[in-house]
């Protein structure tokens, strides 16, 4: 059953890909950016962590994108948002004088303060994303980027960073910081523009955690979320006619000599493993759908992880498929 009133992932201005470490969030971000660029959109994909991964996933010879960004393909740019650089840019925009800003951001005391200070990295990073979403080019002006894909940081706090503008709006009473945070909050809470895209593995604990995450994003933060990406799903291992193959193998003499083939005992174990992982993935994909109340998009498991841009390509159509309710 297809979910009703689904907009395509490509019909948003800002897609924020979130998930725990190890769920394949970065792969999903890269895949979405590539698919959007192929569909003719002007796309920016933004990373936040200290290590840059997306450019090399899409092109092994890609240079480091850094804060200035680099063009990976026609219509596809990548950037890594470093909070200190974003802060320098913000202060320059506010104060107008780069020399003053440089004196401040290179001030040792200021850096010490900022290294320990909470929240501002998230705020300035989201502010930079807001700024990128406002950029126009050409005449008549059109947005420089049709779609901005954000690979959100993987932390135990999940989506807490999306909450920072709201906290600042309530903690800082007035002034530019208050006003700017409010604008960022408005962009995040605009369902026409912003979508949070959660990525989860179809396993027991992630299935529970993703329900907490989607509930928080939707109900506490008021940010739109309309599907869950269930990643690394082991596909059905045998043809439907022999779906209980492991059982049939288990009834053979376990030590039968099959030449270069493993013995039936080993074949049974291999078949049982594949089947049980597949069934486990199916069961928890269904559970994710039940606990979140959201339709699912499944992505297949890739044995050794993403090794080449071709594998990213092969995931693109699966990622853009309409989300479905499995049962």
């Amino acid at each position: 059953m297809a979910a009703d009133s689904q907009r395509s992932l490509l019909e948003h201005r800002l897609v924020i890909v979130t998930g725990k470490g190890g769920t394949g969030k970065t792969t999903v971000s890269a895949t979405l950016a590539l698919a959007a660029a192929r569909a003719g959109l002007r796309v920016l994909v933004a990373e936040m962590g200290p290590d840059e991964q997306i450019p090399r996933l899409l092109d092994p010879r890609a240079p480091q994108a850094g804060y200035a960004g680099c063009t990976l393909l026609p219509g596809l740019r990548a950037i890594r948002i470093d909070p200190f650089e974003a802060l320098a840019e913000y202060l320059t925009l506010q104060l107008g004088v780069r020399a003053v800003v440089d004196a401040v951001v290179h001030n040792k005391a200021f850096r010490q303060l900022m290294t320990a200070a909470p929240g501002w990295r998230e705020l300035i990073t989201l502010g930079k994303i807001w700024h990128l979403a406002q950029l126009d080019i050409g005449d008549p002006p059109r947005p420089e980027f049709d779609l901005i894909v954000v690979d959100a940081p993987a932390t135990g706090h999940g989506v807490a960073f999306l909450d920072v503008p709201r906290v600042v709006v309530s903690a800082v009473r007035a002034g530019p910081l208050h006003a700017h945070s409010e604008r960022v909050e408005q962009l995040l809470e605009d369902p026409e523009q912003t979508l949070v895209l959660p990525v989860a593995l179809a396993e027991e604990l992630p299935a529970r955690e993703i329900a907490e995450l989607t509930d928080r994003v939707r109900n506490e933060m008021g940010i739109s979320i309309d599907r869950v990406i269930v990643n690394a799903v082991v596909e059905a291992p045998f043809p439907a006619e022999v779906s209980d193959l492991d059982e049939a193998l288990g009834r053979l003499d376990g030590d039968l000599d099959l030449g270069a083939l493993p013995s039936p005992r080993v074949l049974t174990r291999c078949a049982r493993y594949l089947r049980s992982r597949h069934e486990l993935n199916r069961r928890f994909a269904v559970e994710i759908q039940h606990t979140t109340g959201l339709p699912i998009v499944e992505l297949p498991r890739i044995a050794e992880g993403i090794q080449s841009p071709d594998q990213i390509s092969s995931l693109a159509s699966a990622l853009l498929a309409n989300p479905v309710f499995l049962e």
Binding site: K20, G21, G22, T23, L91, Q94, V100, V101, N107, A109, F110, Q112, T115, A116, A117, P118, G119, P153, A154, T155, G156, A171, V172, R173, A174, G175, P176, L177, H178, E204, L205, R208, E212, P237, F238, E241, V242, L245, A248, L249, R251, L252, D253, L256, L258, G259, A260, L261, P262, R265, V266, L267, C270, A271, Y273, L274, R277, A303, E304, G305
Partner: protein, 397 residues
């Protein structure tokens, strides 16, 4: 070169085991399994987790873990093979409460304490203050170690952007309190309002003006008050932080790096190892979680396509066993394919871990693999299976 460590010695002798590694590797499960195995060997073990996602509570089959150790009931321990001498407790940190505890402990008076609690900045940032989660966790380890109620504490560290946040956090908090700018903000003259800026050095004036312009003076006043209150606590905090650090880096403690299978995880684990080495941390060994292993002696077969004669032999065996109506040809091909596919995964896991393994073993640390089970580890009996595997590592060929 340090002496060869093995899991048995670690579980028998150490008082603190810190499990580190990237998010998603299964640190929580491994930490819980190590504590269980130590309990089986007669120790009084505590596993302490920090992950706000309540994973340990799940893995331990305990509904909720408060900010206090919770003993696993004796009858459950009996089932898990924990002898009378041993026991196992679990604990999950409640971040907010832990930080409040710190303030309670180090505040010099009730007045200071109440001022901190009432401050609007504290209310918003106590969870987010850089490293406070990490610091609180290590502080708790120290407290539990001091209490002598346990003879082994296994800690599961929070997922962090920087590998050793939990070790560096106290230092950073102290540097923050010591920084010139903070000293300025806690200068009593600051409370006099913006004219107070004139008292400061020119560079600092500039910084304060910039901050004020962006945030508004009200925010700076709140911040100043928060820092004044916090500064009053810093002597106790500093002393404690040094002792926490001495415990974690000293001979009573050791570190276990937990990694997931696959190339990307191995890469992350290698980076992690670099950080640990640079920091001079004593690593006991590496446990790779959820590794696919070949289900018989020897390595998995090579990826040559199966010989048709062999597939036919399997087909005939299936016919003989399942009857003439069974699609044995299809089944035999699917079985051969499944074995090839699984073997490919097994080889991929071994291949991607090899460079890390060589490095770890060359340093005299242990290397252990925990196979991926058919079911996820979510209760105590499956945790027991993980513990079995960890315990049996040294017997592996």
């Amino acid at each position: 070169m340090k002496p060869n460590t093995n899991i048995d010695a670690m579980l028998a002798e150490r008082e603190v085991i810190v499990c580190v590694g990237c998010g998603g590797a299964g640190k929580t499960t491994v930490a819980a399994a190590l504590a269980l195995e130590a309990a089986r060997r007669g120790r009084k073990a505590l596993v302490l987790t920090i992950d706000p996602a309540r994973r340990l509570a799940d893995a331990m089959g305990v509904e909720s873990l408060g900010n206090r150790p919770q003993a696993i009931p004796r009858e459950v321990l009996d089932e898990l093979g924990v002898p009378e001498a041993g026991n196992l407790s679990a604990m999950m940190l409640d971040m907010k409460r832990t930080f409040d505890d710190l303030v309670e402990r180090f505040a010099e008076s009730e007045e200071v304490r109440d001022r901190v609690f009432a401050n609007s900045i504290y209310q918003h940032v106590s969870n987010a203050l850089a490293g406070s989660v990490e610091y609180s966790a290590m502080e708790k380890v120290f407290e539990m170690h001091q209490s002598a109620a346990f003879d082994l504490i296994v800690v599961d560290t929070p997922p962090a952007q920087h590998a050793l946040d939990f070790l560096e956090a106290p230092q950073r908090l102290l540097e923050f309190l010591d920084s010139r700018l903070v000293k300025m903000l806690i200068h009593p003259a600051f409370k006099a309002g913006r004219f107070g800026f004139r008292l400061f050095h020119r560079a600092t004036q500039k910084v304060l003006h910039v901050l004020e312009r962006i945030t508004g003076i009200g925010f700076l006043e709140d911040l100043s008050e928060f820092l004044i209150a916090f500064d009053a606590m810093s002597v106790g905090f500093r002393d404690r932080a040094l002792r926490v650090r001495a415990l974690l880096l000293g001979p009573r403690s050791t570190f276990v790096l937990v990694s997931g299978p696959g190339r990307i995880s191995a890469g992350h684990a290698t980076d992690f190892l670099d950080h640990l080495e640079a920091y001079g941390v004593s690593l006991a060994g590496v446990l790779v979680n959820r590794v696919r292993v070949w289900p018989s002696q020897g390595p998995p077969p090579t990826d040559e396509p199966p010989r048709s004669a062999d597939v036919e032999a399997l087909r005939d065996a299936l016919w003989a066993s399942e009857g003439a109506g069974y699609p044995a040809e299809l089944a035999a091909e699917a079985a051969a394919k499944a074995a090839t596919r699984y073997a490919e995964w097994v080889r991929a896991d071994a291949r991607s871990a090899q460079p890390l393994r060589e490095r770890v073993e060359a340093q005299g640390c242990f290397w252990g693999c925990i196979p991926e089970f058919e079911r996820d580890v979510h209760d105590l009996s499956s945790l027991g299976r993980v513990a079995d595997r960890i315990a049996g590592q040294d017997e592996e060929p």
